[in-house]
Symmetry: C2
Subunit: 172 residues, 2 copies
DNA sequence: CACGAATTGATATGTTATAACATTGCTCAT
DNA sequence: ATGAGCAATGTTATAACATATCAATTCGTG
């Protein structure tokens, strides 16, 4: 449970990153993952996944809804929530509890709780998946006799870019 | 930031625990803490704190509201939310993001993010405050150049009691 | 093609949280 | 004492997030 796989996370802010590329990769992985397990990545589900990925920050369900409504009439909240449930169930997106928002999973296919660094200035969220954190939590929990099912880890703070911006403002 | 102070957490489930006593202690600490920093622990705020502590599991704002309404007429949501904001601001309660609920802080006065073990069967939440977890998160974050402000850590699973109950059911 | 199951549409409603402004009541300088 | 200033609370309305329910449609399969 709560298996971390990478120690060095490919954090969003480390380098300029090709948004289109990362999004297309995610979509391709989703398609192949669904094909393998016989799940139906229908048009709506696929579109919701695209919208979530293109936002590249956690999006609220009603933000997604607005985007869909601009494309086709008559989309209602249940449509979005059902698509999100599907995507959550297949590990293609994560829910950010502290924001009531959703974000694409950067490592679908591997079973893992999400670990997120969320910038409270620019709103971007980087998915971390660090074994040390998972192990620390698993360790403490089992010392208390607690059996872990899922760990929600959401760290709020300042991303590197926004720290710089802050400094500039302070110096001005 | 996110300083853990104890390594061995006094987890709720370790022993039978005197509910009245723990609640009275919490209230006494709150009173003295507010006196020291000049904050006004008014009747409403105090009552909300009592209700939250007596629940001894995370309570939703509207659950608290119902309790208050049974005692005095005309209490509305803002009343509860304002009291909760005050209590959150002074570190007397924590918000559980994954439940949209509130729980008394077992260690007010020390600055700390909350770490919670939440049983998905009985609903109780035990506050942990483990340095190892805090350090792991601080470490990973700073490796990514991220400056931590607040860490939300909410672990869902089975408490010792409910693991036993499950086993009994399975054997029956 | 017809069947059953999964998906989506449509409407209504439940749940959580805050905005906005009026009122009360306390403190403190005069 | 007294009233200006401010913090707290009351009151109403509404925003934001989420789900229940049932009808209609679509899709894969025999």
């Amino acid at each position: 449970m709560v298996r971390g796989r990478r120690d060095a996370a490919p954090v969003l802010w480390h380098r300029k990153h090709d948004h289109r590329r990362c999004f297309e990769d995610a979509l391709a992985r989703a398609v192949s993952l669904c094909r393998r397990c016989g799940a139906r990545l229908t048009a709506i589900r696929r579109r919701v996944l695209e919208v979530v990925w293109q936002g590249h920050r956690p999006l609220g369900a009603y933000e997604i809804l607005e985007t869909l409504r601009a494309e086709r009439a008559g989309v209602a909240p249940p449509t979005v929530y059902r698509a999100l449930d599907f995507l959550l169930g297949h590990g293609l997106v994560h829910r950010i509890e502290s924001l009531n928002a959703f974000v694409g999973c950067s490592d679908p296919g591997s079973s893992h709780g999400g670990q997120f660094l969320i910038c409270r200035t620019c709103g971007t969220a980087a998915e971390l998946n660090d074994r040390r954190i998972a192990l620390a939590i698993e360790g403490c929990s089992s010392e208390s006799g607690f059996h872990v099912h899922h760990a929600t880890i959401e760290v709020s703070g300042l991303c590197p870019n926004c720290q710089q911006s802050d400094a500039k403002v302070a110096n001005a």
